[in-house]
């Protein structure tokens, strides 16, 4: 399984990385986040405000993941 994981804003800053090539098998976005938390517990405080996008579309946390997906985690948007 190969997932292109992207982190933005406070998520990116927390771990100091914007892009992660993810290979560990996961079923859905929530599992991916949980696995990411194990490696980067500094993300924990941001869990409550986490937004998920898969292939550039907003999705629910239980959205199933497939090989080749682009998954992004970020805090609520603040543009404008």
């Amino acid at each position: 399984m190969a997932i292109q994981l992207k982190l933005f804003s406070s998520m990116r800053k927390a771990i100091g990385q914007a892009n992660i090539h993810w290979e560990q098998p996961v079923d859905n976005a929530q599992q991916l986040w949980d696995a990411l938390l194990e490696k980067h517990p500094e993300l924990k405080p941001l869990s409550a405000s986490r937004v998920v996008a898969v292939n550039r579309q907003h999705v629910e946390p239980n959205h199933p993941l497939q090989d080749g997906d682009e998954v992004a985690f970020f805090p609520p948007v603040s543009g404008g």
């Binding site: 933005f8 996008a53 543009g79 404008g80």
Partner: protein, 135 residues
């Protein structure tokens, strides 16, 4: 319909010059500018904007589609800065040309409200470092 995420300065003129006024009686624009202080009253040096560019473009397109569907308006421009934006400069400019003013105002307001709600952009305040006072 035109949208752009750019590190270059943007302006109302940029936006309106891309609209066709022909047959449209009403032109409404909104620009959002960097205010000189944060919510605690601290002076800002500048603002930094971060974007998830590919997704932002998809979300902007959704806003345009909704506006066309709801008001029949196709003359819409949305510009947003990324990177460093100075105090008082616009970070976002929206322009809408419509047949009449009610739908022009409504569509312009909808565009900025939706942009702030759905488009993956994040602002980071950079505070001015106070000068050390000499004794």
């Amino acid at each position: 319909m035109h949208f752009k995420l750019t590190t270059d300065p943007i302006s109302i003129e940029d936006a309106t010059s891309r609209l066709s006024q022909d047959g449209n009686g009403a032109l409404v624009t909104f620009s959002g500018h960097i205010r000189p202080e944060d919510s605690f009253g601290n002076n800002l040096s500048h603002m930094e904007y971060e974007a998830y560019v590919e997704m932002a473009e998809m979300e902007l397109q959704k806003i345009a589609d909704t506006i066309e569907k709801r008001w029949g308006i196709t003359e819409l421009v949305m510009l947003h800065r990324t990177g460093r934006v100075e105090v008082n400069e616009p970070s976002v400019v929206i322009a809408v040309a419509a047949g009449h003013r009610p739908e022009g105002f409504e569509a312009c307001r909808f565009a900025i409200d939706e942009l702030k709600r759905t488009v993956p952009l994040w602002k980071h305040e950079v505070l001015a470092i106070p000068q050390t006072q000499s004794e």
